[in-house]
Amino acid sequence: MKRRSFLKGTVASSMLGVAASAGLLTPQSVLAAWPKAAFEAKSVDGGMEAALGSSDAIESGDIKIKAPDIAENGAVVPITISTGISGVESIAIFIEKNPIPLASSYDLGPTTQGFISCRVKMGKTSDLIAVVKSDGKLYSAKKMIKVTIGGCGG
């Protein structure tokens, strides 16, 4: 990276940061709309409604959540969601007891398989809920994860 543009970028972004934190500027992505309302919802149902259009999910045994039973460090909890449901349109991950339950949502392309792996933060022991949207219907599965040291405070 060129030093000049790097410096410029740093100054500009720090100014942007100030504006954003003051609430003057709403950050917006150009390509895909970041579901702002879904990431502001304080409940799982609210987040589901905003992210996936409904909070009506059928429990499914065809969604597997691979995650530790006990997470020693809540700042880094590795999770893997896999599902055998065909035609998966999107996958959302909720952590019930986090300040903002929606951790992430994924829009899958037609050739993408129902498989997502990532690492999340957990404030305290909570249920992790994976919601899979397929053919307009919602399916969910949950798993309890015990957290010994939370990853949200400071």
Binding site: I100, S104, Y106, D107, G109
Partner: protein, 105 residues
Amino acid sequence: MAKKKIRIRAKMKGDVTEIKALMSHPMETGLRKNKKTGEKIPAHFIQDVICEHKGTQVLVAHWGVAISKNPYLAFKFTGAAKGDTIKVSWSDNKGESASAEAKIG
């Protein structure tokens, strides 16, 4: 400031391609406080991650602050061939962005 880097590993197994990506990013929640000054550290996190194969979006991830620092993402898709290029790019709430490409091997 951390370097904006994405490490991608793309591997084919049969006709399924598995992509693993590791990004360097602080992923600040905006809830943490600076211990010395007591001031809140402003939120700084990746909002969108877009993974493209031959110009087609195979995965669009929307992330909140609950994704861990230096995020890791893995997913699988079909329909690719060896030597194809895969592109991963992210943009965060401060308008910063980065992208990287890798060849499927």
